[in-house]
Symmetry: C2
Subunit: 312 residues, 2 copies
Amino acid sequence: MSDLVGVDLGGTKILARFVNPETGWSEKRVKRPTPSTGPSDVLEAVAEVIEELDPDRTSPAIGIGVPGLVTADGIVTRCPNINGWDSPVDVAATLSKRLDRPVAVGNDVNVGTLAEHRVGAGQGTTAMAGVFVGTGVGGGLIINNRLVAGARGMAGEIGHVTTHTGGRVCGCGERGHLEAYAGRAGLEREARRLHAAGTENELVRLAQNGRIKSSHIAKALASGDSVTEDLIADAVEALAIGIGSMATLLDLPLVVMGGGVVDRLGKDFLQQISESTAFGGFGSSVCELKLAERIDDAGVVGAAILAADQFL
Amino acid sequence: MSDLVGVDLGGTKILARFVNPETGWSEKRVKRPTPSTGPSDVLEAVAEVIEELDPDRTSPAIGIGVPGLVTADGIVTRCPNINGWDSPVDVAATLSKRLDRPVAVGNDVNVGTLAEHRVGAGQGTTAMAGVFVGTGVGGGLIINNRLVAGARGMAGEIGHVTTHTGGRVCGCGERGHLEAYAGRAGLEREARRLHAAGTENELVRLAQNGRIKSSHIAKALASGDSVTEDLIADAVEALAIGIGSMATLLDLPLVVMGGGVVDRLGKDFLQQISESTAFGGFGSSVCELKLAERIDDAGVVGAAILAADQFL
């Protein structure tokens, strides 16, 4: 299969590489800052990066990962992480016209999941999910070897599955979502709320007025802080319920987990989830949890794979 | 498209019809009892029914719905609803050899969902779920216009999604599953438990020592029995949580609902679910709930559609 150009369009930078979709191997890369003057400037910058990387137009198709909601046909309906992007844009149509080649567009977490599936921890399975626990909790789904985008590009959003009816308020305003328990930001809100209410804890002591980082969580756990232990037990329970339900619904044999919190807490954290009594449903008995392989430039690699899946 | 033979292999009878996969329209039918003497007799009976219906072998492929777990390639791994079926059988391979044509095999609820998708309430959408609330709660999933079987043929099993952590014991032995709250059997268990513990209720009064039927539930609600109202409120909440989570995870625009309890309680029941505050997640805002169209012989029709999808 020919090498393709993959692009990771991020909130601060645009990164493009040639990628071999079967091995993930890539070479030359081009990088530049993301304009904050609106979608047309952003797309022009993306096109220029691609032309700089591939002046002879050898790539038969282009793949682009975007930090927003993307429909299956490449319309970016929301993109709050890029300044100035305030309305839906048909990125696939605009750029394929500009570049005279087919262009595939996917959500960044989704194409990261696709990269794990094809050249990372998910190789060999036909169905899996990626679950990424960082500031929030995001995810992607592979069914029948293909990425599932969903009607509005929101498939795989496990962070907003209800795991605790009537529970903690989530960043999105609703109650009891997985992300409110397992995401770093949700954990921080709860730790600060407890601290302010008189339940002092190591997380707030370590972070002071700064952000509570994944490294603070690891340190507080190592010091045996009981509030942190309780918060992590809640996070484990929420992930066990959410992943167990997802594995049941989709009969998934594998969930690959990554993101800052998972990277920091490692295998132990995954083991706690899979051994939790809350990891129920019919899915849990055969659903394996694996650490993501943290592929270099996973967004770029996954974007190129998406283009290969759609057009080659 | 040519008409195909669809077969509904049930616990008590085998039913076969010619089906037009695009209209669901069918004509001649052949029926006979399901043997209870083990899989090879059952498969021979299925083959004979097909030969009786289609002696000239005009059907280019055959579809079969089975009340058990079926993998994507047609192996029936479990089939507790047919007497004597106590080990996995490669139904697709066995029957395609015997009949000299390709044979597609699917779970009965899954192929019923496929029938609703193609010729029922789900026409025109590329993704949907079927949720059937009867004695238990079963379901099926359509993604990218195709039925999703899952690694072991268990995809769509929303009944065993955890909606109430640590809650009521489900028929499967685990706690807090949707089915324990919304399925007729789970509702009956709870009504009888409450009654025995001194909380008398109309459901047990109506059913006496017989089974509590969907019609008893409707009657008890109509009479304003507060215990039944509470039980149905719990069922609505469980369905709202489960369907909301599924719609979020898969970004589903449509869920088609059927089964004895839904048929009896009708549109009001669906409205209560979609208006519940528990119908959360990102999915609820655009996920429509519709009553199933209760297609005649939906299992037969769905099985023929499955064969058309796989082989034509």
